[in-house]
Symmetry: C2
Amino acid sequence: MPGATAGAATGRRPGTGPYLDEVTGAGGTHTPVWFMRQAGRSLPEYKKVRGSSSMLEACFDPAMTCEITLQPVRRHGVDAAIFFSDIVIPLAAAGVDIDIVPGVGPVVAEPIRDEAGIAAFPELTPDRLGQIEEAVRLIIGELDPSVALIGFAGAPFTLASYLIEGGPSRNHEHTKSLMYSRPDLWNDLMSKIADLTTVFLRAQVGAGVDAVQLFDSWAGALTQRDYRSLVLPHSTRIFADELVSSVPRTHFGVGTGELLGAMGEAGPEVVGVDWRIPLDAAATRVPGKVLQGNLDPAMLFADRSALDAEVTRIVEEGRRAREAGARGHVFNLGHGVLPSTDATVVTHVVELVHELTANG
Amino acid sequence: MPGATAGAATGRRPGTGPYLDEVTGAGGTHTPVWFMRQAGRSLPEYKKVRGSSSMLEACFDPAMTCEITLQPVRRHGVDAAIFFSDIVIPLAAAGVDIDIVPGVGPVVAEPIRDEAGIAAFPELTPDRLGQIEEAVRLIIGELDPSVALIGFAGAPFTLASYLIEGGPSRNHEHTKSLMYSRPDLWNDLMSKIADLTTVFLRAQVGAGVDAVQLFDSWAGALTQRDYRSLVLPHSTRIFADELVSSVPRTHFGVGTGELLGAMGEAGPEVVGVDWRIPLDAAATRVPGKVLQGNLDPAMLFADRSALDAEVTRIVEEGRRAREAGARGHVFNLGHGVLPSTDATVVTHVVELVHELTANG
């Protein structure tokens, strides 16, 4: 049983606001909208507040994390804030020697590729997450009660790939080599990562986030067969934690058209869908879930009439998805906001989604 | 009507050898096997023959192209040679200022993003492809008649992305922006690229390749809806060329599980499938085609027993795919051989596939 924050109050405003109404099935005044990576690189005010501090510094500075998390809420009027963090933060908190290198991504000093490396993988104890909990409390203190705060963590497969490859990887060959050659060691490592992720999410839920999202950025590199046998059990265990499961949970990956059903079985109420899979098709692959998505982030670079037509089409597709068995629709991108995105376009999409779905 | 090589003899050994037997539906002595990127970076003898010459120099040097193409046939005993080239070669031949930068990929000096750039896009005339034709003739002169020579070209969407982004791109935002905002300009550019690709493939077929493969590396970034309306018509026109369609044709893309049916409609006899889609599932998505695939290239890094089990599983799945309506199975990877692959493992897979499928 990881963590020791049980007993803390969970969720500060249960069932209030368009986001929580939609994901709990209560239905709301309009389709809620937020964007993955809405906080961060696309906002001039983000660059200003970050200044010369590193990404790791920003993520362990409660006041800065709070400010960055709130910026897109103020600017865009989104229905949810996503806790500003990085998927490697729990690794750094546990003491893994890891850096986030601008233009590269996370770099692990000593990649883990054998039994000794896995045995030495550190445990994350809740006392290491004081700044994370403090940041959540600061955000809640400032956030409009109708806007949900979504907690954030990377899923075990994606974290394992960073740890084993030593950094971002296109082909995940060392990761898959360990997975296929030594499933016993693989499961040991994944189990430890799942514990760490659970502690990280418990800290956020314990401090008051209203919901959580588990990102498995790279699960789409796997076959459904391997995902089911070697990844799904670990992600399922995270979602099943008593504290984590006390709030609405979202699971998301990119290029996961073949995996949607399996990812839904991990336990989340909401499943993220990228732009490759129409929402109404997704509704039949992962029945009974709220679907989140799925505007192509590249669409934010198209001209206004093409963008508006696509947003309108997705809203309609969300309605058809409901008819096909989905429990709801949270408008989002099919992946994160790209760094060079014009922030005024993002605001426009929020307004358009609200307008198109008002009172329905 | 692009090109002017009509009338040249096409295909030197029609219907002979395991590869051609399989893809023409005649059935052969065993399941044929070859590997995308079998020629090149994974072979020590390749590094030796390349020496200090650039990739562009190697691709326009008939003797070197011939030697590099033949190396994996000699070493691995594969059933097909793939003409050694690069998807940007027809662009370079037409006069586009492009370089292949080691560790980066193709870099275009002046990205094409507007009407003037598209208007200035050069035509590829067959007289620019003398070295390509000469290389094909040299290969045919040396290649065992039972081994097929497969010609090679990149598909219009992938080439368009290089031209518009200026190099490799993860999100294709400029490409998609043009596609969505100015479909008229997009179709002009795609039409010109399709002409160029057709000329490049006609030169190879005219010089005697036995088959062709059109690689759309990045089509998997598109929705099926956009693929059908803005990409498929251009790829279809290439496959429909009289000379190109005189040999068996393969179409391949990565992460194209949602697109397989549409890619099959482009006209090929063979459709490549990556490891994310089981071959028997692919058989129902793109019925009546020969399927090519689909070992994960990362699997070549796993230990021998895990690898052998996976190869055996795919051979079995290929049999089930036939029962589910596929016209045949060509064993291949689901993407190219990774540069750090141990070449002896590749040879082992060829032997295993031949052994597992002998007389059946």
